[in-house]
C-alpha cells in the first residue's frame, strides 16, 4: 500500500516533474544526498538514491502536495504557487532558492490602464482557480472563472477571457502574446513541504534533511 511505512525504509520525497526537477535534484546533491541511481529517463516514476537514503517519487507538480498530505511521500518539493493553490494540510519548513516566478493577473496590452475593480464580473482564465477566486473575492468581485489546463495566455487573444492569472518567469511569453501584467498575486519559489506525521514519527531523519538543505541555503 502506498502509505505503508516500514522500519528502515528510505525517506520518500516527491519531486515535481518538469521545470523544477533539475534544480531540486542538484540542490539535494549539494546537501549531501545522492541522486537517483538509474537517472531520470522520464519513465520510471519511483527511483531510489544511490546511497539508499532517499526514495524519489516523480510526480506532476500539482500532485506533490497531495502525495505529501496523504503520507505517500514524507517530504516534497513544490512551487509555493502549487502549495497555496492545493491548500493541503502540510508543513512548509523551508523555502528553497530556486524556481522563482510570480503568479500574476494579466490583461491585453491595449486595456492596460483599465480600472480593474469597477468591472462587473471579469472573465478570468487560469490554471489556479482557488487563488484567483480568493484574490477577486477578497476585493468583493465575483469572477467568472475559466479553468484551463494549458496555454492560458491564448484565452484573451481569442476572446475566451478578459483576463488571465498565470505564472511568469521572464514575461516574454506574455509580451509575445500582447499581454501585460496588471497585478502580482503571489511571489513564488520552491518550498520543501513535509507530511505532518512523518515530521514527528521520523523526526531525526526529517530534521537532518531540513538542516542539510538550510546549510546549503546559508552557504549559497
Amino acid at each position: 500500500m502506498a502509505g505503508q511505512v516500514m522500519r528502515g525504509s528510505p525517506l520518500t520525497i516527491a519531486l515535481p516533474k518538469g521545470r523544477l526537477t533539475e534544480d531540486a535534484l542538484a540542490f539535494l546533491v549539494k546537501a549531501g544526498y545522492a541522486a537517483p541511481t538509474n537517472g531520470d529517463n522520464g519513465r520510471k516514476l519511483v527511483l531510489d538514491s544511490a546511497d539508499g537514503r532517499l526514495r524519489f517519487i516523480m510526480a506532476k507538480p500539482g500532485d506533490v502536495p497531495i502525495f505529501v498530505e496523504y503520507g505517500a511521500a514524507d517530504l516534497g518539493i513544490a512551487g509555493l504557487d502549487v502549495v497555496r493553490e492545493a491548500e493541503r494540510d502540510v508543513y512548509e519548513p523551508l523555502q528553497l532558492p530556486f524556481g522563482y516566478c510570480r503568479l500574476v493577473l494579466c490583461g491585453k496590452a491595449e486595456h492596460a490602464d483599465r480600472s480593474l475593480w469597477l468591472e462587473r464580473s471579469p472573465r478570468v482564465a487560469t490554471k489556479f482557480p482557488r487563488l484567483t477566486e480568493a484574490y477577486f473575492r477578497k476585493r468583493g468581485l465575483a469572477p467568472e472563472l475559466i479553468v484551463m489546463s494549458g496555454s492560458v495566455e491564448l484565452a484573451p487573444l481569442v476572446g475566451l477571457a478578459d483576463l488571465i492569472v498565470d505564472l511568469v518567469q521572464t514575461g516574454t511569453t506574455l509580451r509575445e502574446n500582447g499581454l501585460v501584467e496588471l497585478r502580482t498575486i503571489l511571489d513564488s519559489q520552491a518550498v520543501l513541504i513535509a507530511n505532518r506525521a512523518s515530521y514527528r514519527l521520523r523526526a531525526a531523519e526529517v530534521r537532518a534533511l531540513i538542516d542539510a538543505l538550510a546549510n546549503v541555503i546559508r552557504g549559497a
Partner: protein, 425 residues
C-alpha cells in the same frame, strides 16, 4: 462479475459512506474495547442527541466548527444543527445539568459527528468520534491521566505504532505577548509556526516592532522545540515571561507523571503546536501514526468552554476518530476482524438440529442455518465461498457429520468440547 440487472443510479451525497462487514465488525470491536478501557479508568458513558439548536453548538470558541456545521430548520423555523463534535454537547450537559455534582466528572462518548469540510485527506463529512472528558479538576494529575488514557486507548484498539505529541498553548501565547506583535502580524506569525515555516517566520520577525533582547532568538528557535522530553529543558532557557514559564512548568509536571505511567516511549513534545489556540487553555496533544498525514486523536485542556453553558468548570479530554484508526491499522498491516460464521448448518426443520444450534450459540459459536436447503456438496461449496470454515449436518439426532478443510468426519452430538474449539475459527 455479472452486470447489475437494474439501475443502480442512487449516488450517495459527498462525505458519507457505508461500512460493510469486516470494517463494521472491526469498528464495533474497537468501540467495545474503548468502552472497556475507559470504564476501567472510571469513565462513564453518556449518549448525546445527534442534533441540537444551532445556537447551542455555535460557541464563539469554535468559530471554525461553526462554519462547518450542517444546519436545517425544525417545524417552527428554528435553526438546528447536526453536532460537529462531541465536546460541545458534553460541555452543554455538564454546564446545564451536572455542574453541582461532586467533582471530578469522568465522561465518555462514542458517536457520529458531522462537518462540512472541503475534501481533504482522511476526512469524511460524517465520521465516528470516541472520547473522554475529565471535568472539575485542574493541574498536571488530570492532564497526565488524559494523555496516559489516550495512549492506553490507542494501544487497546490494536494500533502497533503511533506517537502522541504534547504541547501547551501558554508557550506560544507567552511568546506573542513578548513579541507585542500587532494582531495582523500575530496572525501571520501563528500561521507560519503552524506550518513550521522557519524561513517565513524569520522574515516576519523582521517586521515586528522593536523587540526586547533575546525574544527574536526564542521565536526563531520555536519550530525546533520538538522532540523527546529533552526539548523541555532546552525550552527552559528560552522563557522570557511568566506565561511561558507556567506553560513549561505544567508540561514538565505532566512529563514526570507520564514517566510514572510508563508511557514515555509513546509521547514526544512540540512547543510549536499552535492549532486551536483559541479553544484550548493549557496542554494540547495530537496522535499520529506512520503513513497518515492527519491526526488520529486530538485533545487538551479547555477550561473556558463549560462556562459558556453554566458555571466555569475546568476540563481536559480528547477525541479520537475511529474511521482514521481503521485506516491506520490497515496501513500497519493489522488484519481486520473477520465476521464470518463458525458453522453453516443444514437443518431442514429438524428439531434436534435447531436445538444443537441453540446450544452451540449459547456456547459462543456463530451458527448459520442454511435457508436454501442445499444438498451436502453444494452446502460445502457455499460455505467456502463465504469464508465459513465448516458445515454441519445431522446424520441422526446423536451424530453430526462435519466437513471442513481436513475432510469429512463424524462427531458425537454431545461432544461440546470439540465444538467449543470451533469458536472464532
Amino acid at each position: 462479475m455479472p452486470e447489475q440487472p437494474f439501475s443502480a443510479d442512487r449516488p450517495l451525497p459527498e462525505g458519507v459512506r457505508d461500512l460493510l462487514f469486516a470494517d463494521a465488525a472491526t469498528l464495533r470491536r474497537m468501540a467495545a474495547t474503548l468502552r472497556a478501557t475507559w470504564s476501567a479508568w472510571g469513565y462513564r458513558e453518556i449518549i448525546l442527541p445527534t442534533f441540537e439548536y444551532a445556537d447551542t453548538l455555535a460557541t464563539d470558541v469554535g468559530a471554525k466548527l461553526d462554519a462547518e456545521m450542517y444546519r436545517f430548520f425544525d417545524r417552527h423555523g428554528r435553526t438546528l444543527a447536526l453536532r460537529p463534535d462531541m465536546t460541545i454537547p458534553t460541555a452543554r450537559v455538564v454546564g446545564t445539568r451536572l455542574y453541582d455534582q461532586p467533582a471530578p466528572l469522568r465522561l465518555s462518548y462514542i458517536g457520529s459527528v458531522f462537518r462540512h469540510e472541503p475534501p481533504r485527506a482522511g476526512r469524511q463529512h460524517e465520521f465516528i468520534q470516541a472520547g473522554v472528558e475529565l471535568m472539575g479538576a485542574r493541574g498536571a494529575t488530570a492532564d497526565a491521566e488524559s494523555v496516559a488514557l489516550a495512549v492506553a486507548a490507542l494501544r487497546a484498539v490494536g494500533l502497533p505504532e503511533f506517537r502522541i505529541t504534547l504541547g501547551h498553548v501558554g508557550f506560544f501565547r507567552g511568546l506573542l505577548l513578548a513579541l507585542a506583535a500587532p494582531d495582523r502580524l500575530a496572525g501571520r506569525l501563528r500561521s507560519a509556526v503552524d506550518r513550521k515555516a522557519e524561513a517565513e517566520l524569520a522574515a516576519l520577525l523582521q517586521e515586528a516592532p522593536r523587540l526586547a533582547p533575546g525574544v527574536r532568538e526564542v521565536a526563531l528557535a520555536l519550530p525546533r522545540l520538538t522532540g523527546q522530553v529533552a526539548v523541555l529543558a532546552e525550552a527552559e532557557m528560552l522563557c522570557v515571561n511568566a506565561s511561558m514559564e507556567v506553560a513549561l512548568a505544567d508540561l514538565r509536571a505532566v512529563a514526570e507523571l507520564l514517566e510514572a505511567y510508563g508511557v514515555t516511549d509513546a509521547v514526544s513534545y512540540d512547543l510549536a503546536e499552535v492549532r486551536d489556540l483559541d479553544y484550548y487553555t493549557g496542554i494540547t496533544f495530537e496522535g499520529f501514526a506512520p503513513g497518515l498525514g492527519f491526526n488520529l486523536i486530538s485533545g487538551g485542556r479547555y477550561d473556558d468552554l463549560i462556562g459558556h453553558f453554566g458555571p466555569p468548570f475546568p476540563a481536559v479530554g480528547w477525541a479520537l476518530t475511529l474511521d482514521r484508526i481503521l485506516l491506520a491499522r490497515e496501513l500497519q498491516g493489522v488484519a481486520p476482524d473477520d465476521p464470518a460464521s463458525d458453522v453453516l448448518l443444514s437443518a431442514k426443520g429438524c428439531p434436534a438440529c435447531l436445538a444443537w444450534a441453540a446450544e452451540a450459540r449459547a456456547r459462543g459459536l456463530s451458527v448459520e442455518v442454511d435457508p436454501l436447503e442445499l444438498e451436502p456438496e453444494a452446502l460445502w461449496q457455499a460455505a467456502q465461498q463465504r469464508g465459513i470454515p465448516r458445515v454441519v449436518l445431522h446424520s441422526n439426532p446423536a451424530a453430526l457429520i462435519v466437513r471442513d478443510a481436513a475432510g469429512e468426519r463424524r462427531v458425537a452430538a454431545g461432544d461440546w468440547e470439540e465444538v467449543t474449539r470451533w469458536r472464532g475459527k
